[in-house]
Symmetry: C2
Subunit: 429 residues, 2 copies
DNA sequence: GTCTATATATCGATAGAC
DNA sequence: GTCTATCGATATATAGAC
C-alpha cells in the first residue's frame, strides 16, 4: 500500500497528506508547463480546487513547493547513480551495451521527473533565494561519473580526435538527462534512449564523404556566407540609446528569464530612467520582439539555406551542424531567453510564439530532408521515422558544447561529424 | 541646472522629496495614534491621498518608514544629550536648577517627537525584524548620563534612603522622555516639565504624617486587604484548559502586543490545536476581555477603596502609591498589553475601550480627592489644577520601577513617599 | 510620481472528517 | 471531542505602464 497504484481511486480518498501531495504534484505540473515564476499560487490553487490562502496550510511558501520537488529529484539522481554504477560492475557486454544501459536508465528518470527537471533546467538561479539556489545544485557530478565508467572501455576509432570522448560523454549526459524536456512528445523513454544512442554511436549517414569533400561542399560555402551576414553583436555602450536598452535587456533576459526580469532591471542595466526607457521602447514585449526577431531571422536564413540547398544529404546535415554550433555561440543569450520561456499557457502569445513557430517550420524542413534521403538504401540511415528523429538531431547539434571545457567551434563541429554523421563507433573514414 | 534649487516654491511646492517627507510624517502620526502593526499601508496611503502601491516609490517597505522615524529620534536624543551636557558645565545655579533645565529640554524633545516615541515605547520588539529591533535601541544611555551629571550635586536629605537618588534619576528620565505619551492632552511642554519637577522635588503634601502614621492608617489597612484579594497568578500548566489558554495568551499578548499576537501563537504557547482552542474560547477578543476584566476589577476595587476612604489626603495618596507599586508588579503583563494597545481608532472598540474607560473614571476620583484637599492652606499643594496634576501623579506612581536594578516594592514605595508625597528636596521628616 | 492590476502571504474563524 | 483542511478578508509588496 505504499504506492497506491491507480487501481481504485475510491470515492474520496481521505489519506492524510494526500492533499499536500496533490498540491505538490499539480504545482510541479504547472511549473513544468509554465515555469516557476509564471505560475502563480492562484493558478495552483485553482488547479487543486481550493483558495490561494489555503495552500499555505500545506506549504509555507511557493518556494518551498519548488524546493521539495527539486530535493526529490536530487535524491532520485543520487539513487540512480548509485544503482547504475553498481550494475555496471557486473554488466555483461561491451562499451556499447554499457552506454545503452545507462542511457535507458537516465532517460527513464528524465521522463519520470519531467516537472522537476523543467524547474531545474529552466529557472534562472539569479531570481531564486539562497535556499532555492542550493536546491538547484543538482547531483550531476555523480551521474557524470557513471558515464565515465560506462564509456571507459570505449576505444575511439583511430580517426577520432583525442578529446572527442569527453564531448561524447557530455552529449550523452545532457541528452539523456534532459530528454523529457527536449522531446516534448509522448515518446517512450526507452525509444528515446535508443535513438540518442543510435544517433551518436552509429551516426546518420551510411556512406559519408570525407572531410575534404564536406568542407568544400556548395552548401557549406552557402552556410558560411549566410553566417557572415549575421549582424555584429551590439555591446551596450552606456549611451542610453534604444539599441543600448535592447542590448542590456538581452543580457538581463538571458540571466533571469524574460518574465522574471522587470523593466526596472532593464532600465537600471541600461543606465536610463523609466521615463527615458518608455520613450525609446513601447513595452517590455517590444524589446523581446526585437531581440527574438533578429535571432530568428538570422538563424532562419542560414538554416533554410543549408536545409534546402541542392547538395547531398550528408553535406546538408554537416552544414546544418556547423550553423547550429556557431549559432549556439553567437546567440547564446537568445538561446537562454527562449529556454527560460514557458511553453505552457502564458507567454506563448507574443514573440515567443512566433519564435517557436519558426523553429517548428525549420524542423519540418529537416524532416523533409530526412524523408527524401532515408529511402531504403538511401544516404541516410533509417533510425526512426523522420518526425521522431528530427527533434533528436536538432537537440544533439544544439547542445551547449561551449560549456564543455576547452571545446571550440571547430572541435565541436568535428565531433558532430564524428558522431552524428558517421557514428562514434563507425569505421574510420 | 544639476540641482534645481528651491528658489520659487510656486503654487504647489514641487520640492523633490516633499512627498516622501509627507508620507513619513503622516505615517508617523498614524503609528503614534494606532501603533505600528495596527496601521496598514492602506491607512497611510489613504491619509496621503495616493494608492497603497504608490507608497513603495518613496519607501521600500513599511518597516523602512518606521526605521527612518526611529533613526531620526535616535539622532535627536544624541544631539540633545551632547547639547545639554555641555550646557550643564556652565549653568549657574544649584542642582534643582540643573534638574529643571534638563527636564525642560527632554520634555520638549518628547513632545516634538511624540510619534517616534510611541513607536519606540509601544511596539513590541519581538514582532520586529533585526533591522527594526536595532533601530529600536534608543540612545537612552547618553541621556541617562546627562541626568547623572544634573543630579550629581544633589545631596539627599538625611532621612532619604541611600539609593533613592537612583530611583529619582530613573523617574526623571522616564517621566520626561515619555511625557508626550503619558500626558495625552495638549499641555505645553515646559508646563509638563515644571509639574514633573514640582511633584518629585517639592512633593504634593504640605504637612506629611510620619512613616508610622502612614503605615498605620485606616486606608492603608483597607488597601492591603483589597490587594490580598487579588486572585493568584495562574501559571500555564500545560493542561490545555481554558485557564491555561488565557494564561498563555496573557504572556504572549504582553510580549508582542494584542494585535501582533496571532491566535495561532496563543494556541502554540498553550500547547493546544486550533480546534481545541476554539472550543474553549469563543474568540481572540474573548481572551483579551477575560484578561483585562480581571485586571480592571482587581485594580478598581483596590483603588476605589483608597481614593474614597475617609482618611486624610496624605494617607490616601500614600495608599494609592502602594497599590500602584504592587499593581504594576502583579499585573506587569496586563500593563504591557494595554501599553501596546492603540489609543487611536482601532482596537478601541472592544475590551481596551472598557479598560481605558475605567482608568479614566479612577482618574476622576483622584482628581476629586485633589480638589477637596487642595484648597488654599489645605493638606495638598496646588501645583496645578487637579485635571492637570492628576495624570502626572498617576504616571509617577505607575513607572516600571522594578526595571531599576534592585528596587523592590518596599523601597519603591518609600521612594514615592520621599518624593511624591514629601518632595525629594523637602525638609526631612 | 502615480495608477491599475495582481502577486504572495497571514489571520481569525469554522466545517466536517475521524 | 479533536484536529485537518479550508474559507473569506485583507495585508504587504511588485510590476507594467504612463
Amino acid at each position: 500500500m505504499t504506492r497506491s497504484s491507480r487501481t481504485v481511486p475510491a470515492a474520496t480518498p481521505p489519506v492524510p497528506g494526500h492533499r499536500t501531495d496533490e498540491v505538490r504534484r499539480v504545482a510541479g505540473q504547472l511549473f513544468a508547463d509554465s515555469g516557476y515564476s509564471a505560475t502563480t499560487m492562484t493558478d495552483i490553487a485553482d488547479a487543486v480546487g481550493i483558495l490561494p490562502g489555503s495552500l499555505y496550510h500545506h506549504f509555507t511558501s511557493k518556494e518551498e513547493i519548488a524546493v521539495e520537488i527539486l530535493t526529490e529529484l536530487d535524491q532520485e539522481i543520487s539513487a540512480l547513480a548509485t544503482r547504475t554504477s553498481a550494475a555496471l560492475a557486473t554488466l555483461p557486454g561491451g562499451p556499447e551495451e554499457r552506454i545503452r544501459y545507462v542511457a535507458q536508465e537516465v532517460t527513464a528518470l528524465s521522463v519520470r521527473s519531467r516537472a522537476a527537471l523543467r524547474l531545474y533546467a529552466y529557472e534562472a538561479p539569479t531570481v531564486a533565494t539562497e535556499r532555492f539556489r542550493s536546491a538547484l545544485k543538482l547531483q550531476a557530478p555523480a551521474l557524470e561519473k557513471v558515464w565515465k565508467r560506462a564509456t571507459d572501455g570505449l576505444v575511439p576509432p583511430a580517426a577520432a580526435a583525442p578529446g572527442d570522448l569527453g564531448l561524447l560523454r557530455f552529449a550523452l549526459h545532457h541528452l539523456t538527462l534532459n530528454a523529457a524536456l527536449n522531446i516534448p512528445g509522448r515518446q517512450d523513454s526507452s525509444e528515446i534512449a535508443r535513438m540518442i544512442c543510435d544517433l551518436l554511436l552509429d551516426g546518420l549517414v551510411t556512406h559519408c564523404p570525407d572531410d575534404r569533400d564536406l568542407d568544400g561542399s556548395e552548401v557549406m560555402r552557402a552556410a558560411r556566407e549566410a553566417m557572415a551576414e549575421w549582424p555584429a553583436l551590439h555591446e551596450p555602450a552606456g549611451s542610453g540609446s534604444r539599441d543600448d536598452i535592447v542590448a542590456a535587456a538581452r543580457i538581463e533576459f538571458a540571466r533571469r528569464g524574460y518574465s522574471a526580469t522587470t523593466i526596472r532591471d532593464v532600465a537600471e542595466a541600461a543606465g536610463v530612467r523609466m521615463g527615458t526607457l518608455y520613450r525609446r521602447v513601447s513595452s517590455k514585449e517590444d524589446i523581446l520582439r526585437e531581440i527574438l526577431s533578429n535571432y530568428t531571422s538570422s538563424m532562419d536564413r542560414a538554416l533554410r539555406t543549408v536545409l534546402t540547398a541542392g547538395d547531398s544529404a550528408a553535406a546538408s546535415l554537416d552544414a546544418f551542424a556547423l550553423v547550429f554550433v556557431h549559432g549556439k555561440r553567437r546567440f547564446r543569450q537568445e538561446s537562454d531567453i527562449v529556454k527560460f520561456s514557458a511553453r505552457g499557457r502564458n507567454d506563448m502569445s507574443g514573440p515567443f510564439h512566433e519564435y517557436f513557430d519558426q523553429t517548428q517550420n525549420r524542423l519540418r524542413l529537416l524532416e523533409e530532408l530526412l524523408r527524401d534521403a532515408a529511402s531504403p538504401g538511401g544516404p541516410v540511415r533509417q533510425i526512426a521515422p523522420p518526425s521522431q528523429v528530427g527533434p533528436h538531431i536538432r537537440t544533439v547539434a544544439w547542445l551547449p558544447y561551449q560549456d564543455f571545457g576547452r571545446a571550440g567551434a571547430p572541435r565541436t563541429h568535428a565531433f558532430l561529424r564524428r558522431s552524428l554523421l558517421r557514428g562514434f563507433l563507425g569505421a574510420a573514414s
